[in-house]
């Protein structure tokens, strides 16, 4: 039996490998391939500029841009593509920005994480606290009211919050900036104007992320209610253990396990939703780059962003997986966990 941690790391490596293979397949194997479209695109641009256009030269340029060699046999081109990405971090060159994809996207990684991490952690924490309160007051008016609120929250798409926030608080009332990620008049560093600008620009996107992540509350409520009915909790009460300790160490710790696995799955949709949120707020991080890559038909940038998103997601899930052992020590001893 391979250990839990080794299997998780292996899984992460497999997903990364598959996503890069997918990117290669899109360039090389798709009918009516992006390379063809890029060739037409460059040809048109070249003709617009009025220079003499040599088809051979442009075709060679397409190969440089994508990093995929179309003249070599499939397996060699594939091997070289993998080598370029994993060893030299060469993702090709952006057509739209006319610069290498990797540094362009790498600069945006901290912004993407900054924007997503608060939504995930704060949103889930609020959800769990609400769930605990609902479970504690099970059956009361407070419980049913909050349950209805949670269902409403799940029913309204998160980007509606973004649109309404932008229109009301951004454009109409002018409380928050409506685009960008920092105040251009400030100097980056540990000074108040810069940080204030940062917070003002990030407030609406992060609020949207928090609203989008509230959902775990109902599941936690159900788990807590179930756990509270079990005999060992009764015994704990009989032993005279304080209520607070029972709530946190006994009920809470057991009820949070399924929610924690749920969070892992949430990570996969987290960066996906950032494409929509960043486009609405014109917040230049990876999601916005993805959107522009698509609009500009910039395939190297698009595939680079896809691989970046997958990498971030895989790392996030790996982190959650590796810390899972802390809240559930059974994973080390009890063989494999049955569900994800």
């Amino acid at each position: 039996m391979v250990s839990y941690y080794a299997r998780r790391i292996g899984m992460a490596a497999l997903v990364l490998f598959i996503s890069v293979t997918f990117a290669f397949a899109v360039f090389r194997l798709m009918p009516g391939s992006p390379a063809e479209a890029m060739f037409q695109n460059l040809m048109a641009r070249c003709e617009q500029s009025g220079r003499t256009c040599d088809a051979d030269r442009i075709w060679r340029r397409v190969q440089v841009i994508t990093g995929v060699d179309y003249d070599k046999p499939l397996h060699i081109a594939y091997f070289e593509y993998l080598r370029d990405i994993f060893i030299y971090q060469d993702f090709g060159e952006s057509i739209w920005k006319r610069e290498p994809v990797f540094p362009y996207l790498l600069e945006k990684v901290p912004w993407a994480i900054f924007l997503s991490i608060y939504g995930l952690t704060v949103g889930r924490a609020i959800g769990i606290i609400l769930g605990a309160m609902m479970a504690y007051k099970e059956g009361s008016r407070f419980d049913s009211g909050l349950t209805l609120f949670t269902i409403l929250n799940q029913g309204i798409p998160y980007f509606f919050v973004a649109i309404l926030g932008l229109v009301f608080l951004g454009f109409n009332l002018g409380w928050f900036p409506t685009s960008g990620r920092m105040n251009p008049d400030t100097v980056a560093g540990l000074n108040y104007p810069f940080i204030a600008g940062l917070a003002a620009h990030a407030f609406l996107p992060i609020s949207t992320g928090i609203v989008a992540s509230l959902g775990g509350g109902l599941a936690f409520r159900g788990n807590s209610v179930r756990e509270m009915g079990k005999p060992y909790i009764k015994l704990a009460h009989l032993r005279g253990i304080p209520d607070g300790r029972i709530a946190l160490r006994y009920v809470g710790r057991n009820a949070i396990l399924p929610v924690y696995t749920n969070i892992m799955m949430g990570i996969a949709s987290l960066f996906g939703s950032s494409i929509i949120i960043e486009q609405i707020f014109t917040y230049p991080a990876i999601g916005y780059a993805t959107y522009n890559a698509l609009v500009q038909r910039d395939y190297p940038l698009l595939m680079g962003a896809f691989v970046f998103f997958t990498t971030l997601t895989v790392l996030g899930i790996l982190l959650a997986d590796l810390t899972y052992g802390i809240i559930d020590p059974r994973v080390n001893t009890g063989g494999d966990r049955e569900s994800f």
């Binding site: 029913g155 998160y158 209610v225 009764k234 038909r297 896809f306 895989v314």
Partner: protein, 364 residues
């Protein structure tokens, strides 16, 4: 039940049931000729009447079901009684419920004239003079096409992979679950964006299937873990010993008890598809080939004047329509969970008992 082809072959225990099999396998029902009407009535009772009555008991399924019924009437009935949205049919930028939005008329049905009504731009009109209600009603058609194709695709794939992996076990299980985990880990929206960029899907049915791609792994996981417990039950053992084919066992003993899970997941998948399609059409990642709710929301967003809150109804109307449908789906799914989840019900009963017994002990 008549013995199938495989039942006639000699058994490994030496038995041979080719002769005189009727003696043991014939049941009373086999010899009675039943009229189609009786069969139809029985089928209706167990597959239509009983589930509806069970669902009606829970307020969430009741409200959710009524909401869903209303929304299903939009692309079917609504399209039939509302004229298609046309530019300049109404005044430009009319506010909702303006003078003359509702008039009594008469309609001719088979030569009979009955009182009827006519609605004219009740929800206002946009900047090209199309009435908002006609836009929203006709916009529901592609949305429902996407929901149906995407959620059905996800439900089929998830059920098939989950049941097959759980029942077969071993290496097949390992391979299928690895595939499921990979799809679960790959960020779904990013994958959809890439596929949308390469394929430029124009047909709403195709868009639905692409959106359904990241919806099946969750169902496959749930179904598998259920099947793992079902396959140990004695009835499955008995059916296997009787020599029923794998397909029959899967259909009878695995998939029918899983129907509640599958339908709950169907509702959840439909919600996900609405979110993603509206979101991606709104920001303009999917090509505008039909006037669905996401496209309407996008043009409404461009149409409003941010300094004049009176124009915000453009934004609120599509938002309310979209949220209403997802709200109905969630209510319905949660109610179904309550109605069908035997474990949850049993637990609730047991807990109530516990409460009565242990009330004094805890109440100190």
């Amino acid at each position: 039940m008549s013995p199938s082809e495989s039942d006639r072959s000699p058994r490994s225990d030496g038995g041979d049931i080719t002769g005189g099999e009727d003696l043991f396998t014939q049941r009373a029902a086999d010899s009675v000729e039943e009229s189609y009407a009786v069969l139809l009535r029985r089928w209706a009772r167990s597959f239509i009447y009983a589930p509806i009555m069970a669902a009606w008991d829970d307020w969430r399924t009741r409200v959710g079901g009524l909401i869903l019924l209303f929304y299903i009437s939009l692309p079917t009935l609504g399209v039939w009684i509302t004229p298609a949205p046309q530019p300049f049919r109404h005044g430009l930028n009319m506010a909702p419920f303006q003078e003359g939005w509702f008039t009594w008329t008469t309609a001719n049905v088979f030569g009979l004239s009955i009182p009827w009504f006519e609605i004219s731009a009740a929800l206002g009109s946009n900047s090209t003079g199309q009435s908002m209600e006609a836009l929203l009603i006709y916009g529901s058609v592609p949305i429902f096409q996407m929901i149906i194709s995407g959620a059905v695709f996800a439900a089929f794939l998830g059920t098939f992979i989950g049941v097959f992996a759980g029942y077969k076990g071993g290496r097949i299980d390992g391979v299928l679950m690895t595939i499921t985990d990979v799809v679960l880990t790959v960020p779904g929206t990013a994958l959809i964006v890439v596929l949308a960029a390469v394929w430029r899907p124009e047909n709403a049915w195709v868009v639905g299937i692409i959106l359904g791609i990241d919806n099946w792994p969750g169902l496959a996981r749930t179904v598998r873990s259920q099947v793992l417990s079902f396959r140990e039950e004695s009835v499955v053992e008995a059916h296997r010993a009787l020599g029923l084919s794998t397909r029959t066992i899967l259909r009878r003993d695995m998939i029918s008890p899983l129907m509640p899970y599958i339908s709950i997941n169907f509702a959840g998948g439909a919600r996900g598809i609405i979110f993603e399609s509206v979101g991606l059409y709104f920001i303009g990642i999917l090509p505008y080939t039909n006037e669905n709710w996401g496209v309407i929301l996008n043009s409404s967003y461009d149409n409003i004047s941010v300094t004049n809150p009176n124009t915000f109804y453009y934004l609120f109307e599509p938002m309310l329509i979209i949220s209403g449908l997802t709200f109905g789906l969630i209510l319905f799914a949660q109610g179904l969970d309550q109605v069908f989840n035997v474990r949850l019900q049993a637990r609730h009963e047991a807990q109530d008992q516990d409460k009565e017994e242990g009330a004094q002990a805890i109440d100190t």
